[in-house]
């Protein structure tokens, strides 16, 4: 019998959640960082959503957050004109990189040695984290004349991008469209049109599904091969700002204007993390493990 999706709501933020990122798979599981307009990005256990710690130090809304592959470093981008690098194990601030305007996005290179930042100053900067004070290690790229790389232009502003290193795919969302490009040639692979303005989308690590969220508060799930809409889920009480798949593809996280982060199962019905598959007959029998069939108010 088909099971109904029960999203897990992670509360704790007091303002809209605008960015979410997962780490890679580490010996301690995988982790999730959420950026929030309350200025306090949080680190959570990736498969359960359990809070681990809050990075304190930014003096403004945090617009972007990221973790390196082994979740030992975190980086955040904020409206206080700085990007900060943190020790993701102790929560301590390691580095502050001053910018000339609001910083919107941050990302580590795969080897964690460099940090890229982008923001309202219309520049993408690369910092060598081993020598961030040396000016010669910072390279500036003009947004319109990216050297040696093709430039893509759109009629509507680009809301979000995701780069799948292993799949060589770049996912770009703009307006009501989700587009997939070859990461090396920037040739268009395929697009899909959605019912609402999409703020963010994510491609499953094994390229089976695409999940997206936007202005209509819903989360959409598409089959990547056929681009057919498989499911849509209601649950958030505000526009969805960010959606990301976990590194193992078993769940995806969504952050919203409503100040919450929700975790959704990719395969509803599977026992994973905090989700437990319980067949109707088991609910009646003597069961030592405390299982909670979800009350009506919390259902998706």
């Amino acid at each position: 019998m088909a099971m109904r999706q029960t999203p897990l709501t992670c509360s704790g933020h007091t303002r809209p959640v605008v960015d979410v990122a997962f780490s890679g798979i580490t010996p301690f599981g995988y982790f999730l960082i959420s950026a929030c307009k309350d200025g306090k990005p949080m680190l959570r256990q990736g498969d359960t959503g359990d809070w681990i710690g809050t990075f304190l130090g930014h003096k403004g809304a945090v617009w972007g957050a990221t973790l390196n592959t082994d979740a030992t470093k975190a980086a955040t981008a904020a409206a206080d004109f700085t990007a900060k690098v943190w020790d993701a194990v102790s929560g301590a601030e390691v580095l502050t990189l001053a910018h000339k305007h609001i910083v919107k996005s941050v990302n580590f290179t795969k080897d964690s040695n460099c940090l890229l930042t982008g923001g309202n100053d219309k520049l993408i900067r690369i910092y060598d984290l081993n020598a961030p004070d040396e000016d010669r290690s910072v390279r500036l790229w003009d947004r319109n004349t990216l050297e040696a790389v093709k430039t893509l232009s759109f009629d509507t502003s680009v809301s979000n991008m995701e780069y799948l290193a292993d799949g060589d795919v770049v996912l770009i969302t703009y307006g009501k469209t989700i587009a997939f490009y070859n990461a090396h040639s920037l040739d268009l692979i395929k697009t899909v049109d959605t019912p609402a303005n999409i703020h963010s989308a994510s491609l499953h690590p094994e390229k089976e599904f695409v999940v997206a969220g936007g202005d209509d508060f819903k989360i959409y799930k598409y089959d990547y091969g056929t681009m057919e809409e498989l499911e849509s889920y209601k649950g958030h009480f505000g526009p969805v700002h960010c959606v990301r798949f976990s590194p193992d593809g078993e769940l995806y996280a969504s952050g919203s204007e409503d100040g919450t982060l929700r975790l959704w199962q990719t395969a509803v019905g599977k026992t994973y993390g905090l989700w437990k598959c319980v067949l109707p007959e088991d609910l009646v029998s003597e069961n030592p493990e405390p299982l909670y069939p979800v009350p009506a108010e919390i259902k998706a």
């Binding site: 099971m3 109904r4 029960t6 359960t48 959503g49 304190l56 194990v89 929560g91 909670y292 259902k299």
Partner: protein
């Protein structure tokens, strides 16, 4: 999702189809995700991950050849400074303190207490340009220095 049937068929099947489609068993959960602790910033030092990976902030230990002696000296110095700071906080209780803050702001207040992470100071009778605030919280990151008579 509602399934509409042709009007020639008996209406009672409409209700049963509706029930069948909407009575999917909701996925059970073991518990809800744990939220943040109200008074701490987290990063539990007793967690297995912290113990295994803890990058200490002691600069001496970052070097590849850890000199045990210099590490000990540094640790001792840190302990002394920390103890001195905590004693300072204790002696500040109920005294009039002058806080020197950013934007050339200086305010007087009677010190109450600090929170565990030294993020906020609880003060009374905060003298501000727009009046006296009977009870207030001063954000420590806004404070550059403070002075008082012991």
């Amino acid at each position: 999702m509602v399934i509409w049937r042709k009007c020639s068929e008996k209406p009672r099947y409409l209700v049963l189809d509706f029930l069948k489609v909407n009575m999917k068993t909701p996925m059970s959960v073991l518990r809800l995700p744990r939220g943040p602790e109200p008074n701490s910033r987290g990063f539990d030092p007793n967690s297995p991950r912290f113990i295994a990976l803890c990058a200490t902030s002691i600069s001496a230990s970052k070097e590849s050849e850890t000199d045990a002696a210099s590490l000990q000296t540094e640790q001792r110095a840190r302990s002394v400074m920390r103890e001195r700071f905590l004693r300072c906080l204790l002696s500040m209780a109920n005294k009039k303190i002058q806080f020197h803050m950013y934007e050339k702001v200086t305010v007087d207040a009677t010190f109450g207490a600090s929170d565990i992470d030294v993020l906020n100071f609880q003060v009374s009778d905060l003298q501000t340009p727009i009046g006296v605030q009977k009870e207030a919280l001063i954000r420590c990151q806004d404070v550059i220095s403070y002075s008082f008579d012991m």
